[in-house]
């Protein structure tokens, strides 16, 4: 939401509430002001930066080999020194491997896989969505049928089937994640193109002699950019969970590479005696996914121009910017 609007909304709000002048109301208004500053995005970005930095530089600071086994120091609780005399901040797992080192290594794998899969899915999905929106009904029909088929297929089951057949490798995980998530991009870009196509600036560009290629690259794609960015962030969050899920089920990232999903799966057996083995990597996933989802929310509020449309009665934009229903966004 742009700043002048926000100020206008706040002023209107304050005027409305003058007759309700009670301490509680004042507090509520203060909170509303804080809310409108959107600390959400800043907060999410900060967490995300910490996660990314620790994923890529963490092992340089905490110089412990994530695969080093020390059976005499197995299941050491967090914040304590093992029998080997080494201090373990997050404790150790059932093979005496340092959990902090493994969580950091897992972060690198998780983020890398999620990012790569998201990029490939975005490229595939956006191209399909653009084609579907531009090339008329026949292509569109075929694409939408594909989308329906993809939606009807159970994602996790399909993913683990393909992963089992093709064998565990990072490449396969990325392929599986891409194959099951390009649909989100295709659907959203398609509907965006369909509505853009009817706009005047497109007919203007056309009547100026703009070819289909130029129309796509210079006019349609830039106008889909913000929505693609928003979808990408939610897709990245989903990818992290999906990668962890298939690794948890034992068919994802190869077992010799530490990944959050397989760490939880290993720790599951030791839950009654050593909660930290499963809960710490789980917490890492949750924190990263929450941060990305919040960032996505924030980006959606910032970038989606339709969200600042006036609401029906007062002619003022909504303060929390949720103008469009989720059904349309989905």
């Amino acid at each position: 939401m742009s700043e002048p609007y926000a100020t206008a909304a706040r002023q209107a709000h304050a005027k409305e509430r003058i007759t309700w002048f009670t301490p509680r109301r004042v507090l509520a208004d203060r909170l509303a002001v804080v809310h409108s500053l959107r600390p959400k995005g800043v907060f999410a970005a900060m967490i995300l930066i910490i996660v990314v930095l620790s994923a890529f530089f963490g092992n340089a600071i905490w110089q412990v080999d994530p695969s080093f086994q020390q059976l005499s120091a197995r299941l050491v609780p967090p914040l304590s020194v093992g029998s080997d005399g080494v201090y373990h901040l997050f404790g150790t797992d059932h093979l005496g491997r340092d959990l902090l080192a493994r969580t950091l290594a897992g972060a690198r794998i998780s983020l890398l896989v999620a990012l790569l899969a998201m990029c490939v899915a975005a490229v595939v999905g956006v191209s399909v969505g653009l084609a579907s929106g531009v090339f008329g009904s026949r292509v569109d029909h075929a694409v939408m049928t594909c989308v329906d088929v993809q939606l009807a297929l159970p994602f996790t089951l399909l993913a683990i089937s393909i992963a089992t057949i093709t064998g565990p490798s990072l490449m396969n995980v990325i392929v599986v994640l891409t194959a099951t998530s390009w649909v989100a991009f295709a659907r959203v870009v398609r509907s965006q193109v369909l509505s853009l196509r009817e706009m005047e600036f497109i007919s203007a560009a056309r009547s100026l002699g703009c070819g289909p290629g130029r129309l796509l690259v210079r006019h349609l794609l830039p106008n889909c950019a913000s929505i693609i960015i928003v979808i990408s962030s939610f897709a990245a969050a989903r990818m992290i969970v999906a990668e962890a899920t298939i690794s948890f089920l034992g068919v994802g990232v190869p077992s010799w590479i530490p990944s959050w999903g397989s760490m939880i799966s290993e720790g599951r057996t030791y839950l009654p005696v050593a909660w930290w083995v499963a809960i710490i990597p789980g917490g890492a996933i949750t924190v990263s996914v929450i941060a990305i989802n919040l960032l996505g929310d924030w980006l959606r509020d910032r970038l989606d121009p339709r969200l600042t449309s006036p609401n029906g009665l007062t002619g003022l934009p909504r303060r929390n910017g949720r103008g469009r229903s989720d059904a349309e966004r989905a």
Binding site: D148, V149, L158, S161, I165, T286, N293, L313, R319
Partner: protein
């Protein structure tokens, strides 16, 4: 209306046909199941005999034709592991999955309905903030992690619920919560934004001007109109739930088709996997067809524009 129904049904059938082709594709790339099953010392002749018995040596179009023909007769193949028709193995486990799906649906409704309505009516209140935060949290927690947290809290620490299995009412609580809370966050959020859209409509002012009680204005005029988009999403999700919650069933050792499918994937017993995938897809298509039709009944505008 009748054309609309037929159109949707045909589309559903086309989708199912394509799904079964994908399912057949899985069996093609999954390799030779015979080599996985027999002892190493089996002679090549015996191997060949077995392949012929299972029809694995026929050309691909013939196998595909047989596969599709079998589907029409309700024959989904033969489980190598259970030595039974895949369909009956799956059907045996279906009851547990349906039970869990409805329990999860109950959780979704019990959580999302009040949370969504109240947070929309009392927008920007602290309740609203809590609901929105909860919905982000619920949606960000991977289901296997939420399941483990629940096990740690309720089974390991508090000893209230059993960790796994099926039988009593206590067994279903944690799987239903794990499954339900994930979707409840999204449903609450969706209901909230849909309610917010509706609350600004003119007919809401009319309803209030008529002097109706606020309870009726919200419950009957707002909620009923706001529930349409939510219904669509819940339909999509119920379709998915009927296909067995693979992860949740695995964690809680819930004997449904999701757990069956995971075991089958790991044992490479692909006829079972195919049967489960097909069943899920069918449930998904049918539930969505029903939701579409319900949509037409509930919202006359849909009926008018689409017929």
């Amino acid at each position: 209306m009748i054309y609309y129904i037929i159109g949707r049904a045909v589309r559903g059938l086309v989708v199912l046909l394509l799904v079964s082709m994908v399912v057949f594709g899985i069996s093609l790339i999954s390799g030779d199941p015979i080599t996985l099953l027999i002892p190493i010392e089996t002679s090549p002749e015996q191997l060949e005999e077995l392949r012929n018995a299972y029809g694995l040596n026929d050309p691909i179009p013939a196998r595909m034709g047989r596969f599709l023909e079998g589907l029409f007769r309700g024959d989904l193949g033969y489980s190598f592991r259970y030595q039974q028709p895949a369909f009956s193995v799956v059907a045996e486990r279906l009851g547990a999955t349906i039970e869990l799906a409805f329990a999860a649906m109950l959780v979704i409704l019990l959580v999302a309905l009040p949370a969504g309505v109240v947070s929309a009516v009392k927008r920007d209140s602290s309740f609203d903030t809590v609901v929105m935060a909860g919905s982000v949290l619920g949606h960000s927690l991977p289901s296997f992690f939420l399941g483990l947290l629940l096990i740690y809290l309720f089974s390991v620490t508090l000893h209230i619920f059993p960790t796994s299995g099926r039988g009593t009412l206590a067994h279903i609580v944690m799987p239903a919560l794990t499954l339900g809370l994930f979707y409840a966050g999204r449903a609450a959020r969706l209901l909230r934004s849909s309610m917010l859209d509706v609350l600004h409509q003119e007919y809401m002012r009319t309803a209030r001007a008529k002097g109706l009680a606020e309870r009726i204005v919200i419950g009957r005029h707002a909620l009923r109109n706001a529930s349409l988009p939510v219904l669509t999403i819940l339909g999509l999700e119920l379709g998915g739930l009927l296909g067995g919650a693979v992860v949740t069933e695995t964690i809680f050792a819930w004997p449904g088709i999701g757990k069956l499918a995971v075991e089958a994937v790991i044992a490479r017993d692909f006829p079972i996997v195919q049967a489960v995938v097909l069943l899920t897809a069918t449930a998904f298509v049918v539930v969505n067809l029903i939701v579409d039709l319900l949509y037409g009944l509930l919202d006359p505008r849909v009926r008018l524009t689409r017929t």
